[in-house]
């Protein structure tokens, strides 16, 4: 007899799992697996290793204290001889990501490889003096590793130097730490702006009569339901130099007609538009916490002599902290991954890390680096989400 109830719960548990399986499988196949496969590209780099097998083998034990021996020179000549013209072009383009100039060097050497005579340690540098540059060999050694951390180094402005030790890249190429910093800074700024603007609004929503609250809620949710592109378009129309805000500033005499303020296609545009877009994600969690705080708490505080400000700081604010934490984390999580708004209104100075990922995937075609940047960003988002889950619970992700 005591068995029966346990068996029932066990069965419902299994049925429950069965019901979640279709969506679980769907998300795994069409969402998680694609991301996993893309992230794998950040460490996996099979193409050069497959095209230069002998070179990879010859360089595997190289200590990088001096130029490699004749064996490596002979290996690369042999490997390049075996490549078709378009294969050499592909290889050159790949290796060029690690070391600028390798593209033309590889293609030129592949073209001339058949005419070269041993010893290749002499004839290759004669063809192009770059072959006597140890840094070139270091780049080829790293580039022909089928698994390597080079993309993660690049994602934090580091690289393997000529002696294969890790070093900082030249200052002009060091942009990624700055971009991660800018992304975090913009996300933090947007979070703070949303908190400052959203807190009073959430308070008003929670404390207004039902009819007013219903109307306010509709006003809050309308932008939430409106297409992101529509809202971005609206900000361009408002903020551009011939737009409504500048017209008003000129009309008010605050700004000279010839010196209109640049409000869009820069950081200001990104901040303003992102704050407006993400504000509902701050207000809704705040509101759902504030709604549960009985007004008698504040009255109790004031009856014991606390001034309104003290009552707010000592009683109300601490009670709303779960909402503050949930809203702030949610806004920050969404803001660090933002792509559309910075791409459309950010201009060059308002680009964030997402925009650079898109650039590497679509334009520079340095997929490994794009994947490494994605992995760093995704790692940050997952950590923040775990904190969010701990602080607020996944069910706080409920809108409307």
């Amino acid at each position: 007899m005591p068995d029966a109830p346990r068996r029932t719960t066990h069965r419902t548990g299994r049925n429950g799992l069965l019901l979640t399986l279709p969506l679980l499988a769907f998300i795994l196949v069409f969402f998680a697996a694609p991301i996993g496969a893309m992230l794998w590209r950040s460490v996996s780099n099979p193409l050069p290793a497959a095209m230069l097998p002998k070179t990879a083998e010859a360089l595997a034990g190289w200590d990088a204290q001096a130029l490699p021996g004749e064996a490596a020179y002979a290996a690369i000549v042999e490997d390049l001889k075996a490549l078709k013209r378009e294969e050499a072009a592909k290889l050159g383009a790949q290796l060029n990501f690690d070391f600028g100039g390798l593209n033309s060097l590889i293609r030129k050497t592949a073209r001339e490889a058949a005419k070269l005579a041993p010893p290749y340690a002499d004839s290759l540098p004669k063809l192009d003096k770059q072959w006597a540059n140890q840094a070139v060999w270091a780049a080829i050694a790293v580039g022909t590793q089928s698994l390597s951390a080079k993309n993660y180094l690049a994602a934090v402005d580091l690289r393997y130097g000529a002696d294969l030790s890790v070093e900082r890249v030249a200052d002009k190429d060091a942009i990624y730490l700055m971009l991660f910093g800018r992304t975090a800074w913009v996300a933090a700024l947007v979070t703070v702006l949303c908190l400052i603007l959203g807190y009073p609004l959430a308070w008003l929503l929670a404390n207004a009569g039902p009819r007013t609250a219903g109307l306010l809620m509709i006003l809050l949710l309308l932008p939430f339901w409106t297409s992101l592109l529509v809202r971005t378009t609206a900000w361009i129309a408002l903020l551009q130099s011939q737009g409504v805000v500048n017209d008003m500033l000129v009309w008010l005499g605050l700004v000279d007609d010839k010196n209109r303020v640049q409000l869009v296609y820069n950081m200001t545009g990104t901040l303003v538009a992102m704050t407006q877009v993400l504000l509902p994600f701050m207000v809704l969690p705040l509101y759902s916490v504030m709604k549960t705080i009985p007004p008698v708490y504040l009255r109790a505080a004031s009856s014991m002599g606390a001034r309104p400000f003290t009552g707010f700081i000592r009683v109300y604010l601490p009670l709303t902290m779960p909402g503050v934490a949930a809203g702030a984390l949610l806004v920050f999580i969404l803001a660090v991954g933002y792509y559309i708004t910075p791409a459309l209104v950010g201009g060059p100075s308002g680009q964030l890390i997402s925009n650079l990922i898109a650039y590497h995937i679509q334009q520079s075609l340095n997929w490994g680096l794009g994947a490494a940047l994605s992995a760093v960003l995704l790692g940050a988002v997952i950590v923040l989400y775990l904190v969010f889950n701990r602080v607020a619970g996944a069910d706080r992700l409920r809108f409307g």
Binding site: L24, A37, L220, L229, S374, V381, N389
Partner: protein
């Protein structure tokens, strides 16, 4: 209280203006008779000649915009159907007590909502092209279904928290199969949540541009894709006309969801 309360009210009011004003400004600007993005003197003087519906005529007569609408509706409709069916099933499963690894499963099912969309889009770009799904409607339908499903899971889970499972047991004890119990007892009671989730999923697809940029080809131009290129290339008040129409869509979706929410609150009271 009154001093601080007044300040808070004023701030809340200004914040609402900040939220709504950009949308309200677009509407009259879309009736501009001139190809400008700002109010002309004739518009400010309320001269009827300053206003016109030329931009609306331009987009309504443009086959590119019409095709974009059709594509958006096909992709949105199909992805919503997938997301709603799979999402409702999953929420039903998760609501049934002791599913093993519930937290991890929930986290995975919700992940499309918090993953930066650029990461999802680039991952899909490589993976879907290996499967031959890029530049097809099907690829975008699958992508949008994955992005929309978490909304269904969350809204249906929320409406199931107010559901009395004794009703299902009663159905089963009277001899109904699990499917019959679901369609005749459970579904009618959680329907507002299911429809809200479906509308969220549809709105997600209808507004989604990043995966379309990565996965779509010339045959998959949707409304957001058209708006995107409109903003980047030839920005004209035609964009504002399209935007105004989309605000109308948002108003309708919002009012339906709010109505459903109130209805489901009433139903939960009735059940208790």
């Amino acid at each position: 209280m009154s001093g601080w309360g007044l300040i808070a009210r004023v701030m809340a009011g200004l914040t609402l203006v900040f939220l709504i004003a950009p949308l309200l400004v677009i509407v009259p600007l879309s009736f501009n008779a001139e190809p400008f993005f700002t109010f002309t003197d004739r518009m400010l003087a309320l001269d009827p000649d300053g206003y016109s519906t030329r931009w609306y005529q331009a987009i309504l007569n443009d086959t590119v915009w019409r095709d974009a609408l059709v594509n958006s509706l096909i992709i949105g409709g199909a992805s919503t159907a997938i997301a709603t069916v799979l999402g409702t099933l999953a929420a039903m499963g998760l609501a049934r007590g002791d599913v093993p690894l519930k937290g991890a499963i929930m986290g995975l099912l919700i992940s499309p909502m918090i993953t930066p969309v650029i990461i999802a889009a680039t991952g899909m770009y490589f993976f879907y092209s290996d499967l031959g799904l890029t530049q097809t409607h099907l690829g975008l339908i699958l992508a949008h279904a994955a992005l929309g499903a978490p909304f269904v899971v969350i809204t249906v889970t929320a409406s199931l928290t107010g559901y009395d499972w004794n009703l299902s047991r009663a159905g089963a004890s009277l001899g109904a199969s699990p499917a019959t119990t679901f369609f005749r007892v459970t579904l009618p009671l959680i329907l507002p949540g299911v429809i809200s989730g479906a509308l969220f999923a549809f709105a997600t697809s209808f507004d989604e541009v990043v995966t379309v940029l990565f996965l779509g080809g010339p045959e998959q131009v949707t409304i957001p894709r058209k708006m995107w290129s409109g903003i980047r290339e030839q920005i004209s008040p035609a964009i504002l006309a399209a935007a105004t129409l989309l605000i109308g869509v948002a108003v309708v979706l919002l009012l339906v969801v709010e109505w459903l929410r109130r209805r489901s609150e009433r139903m939960q009271i009735v059940q208790r």
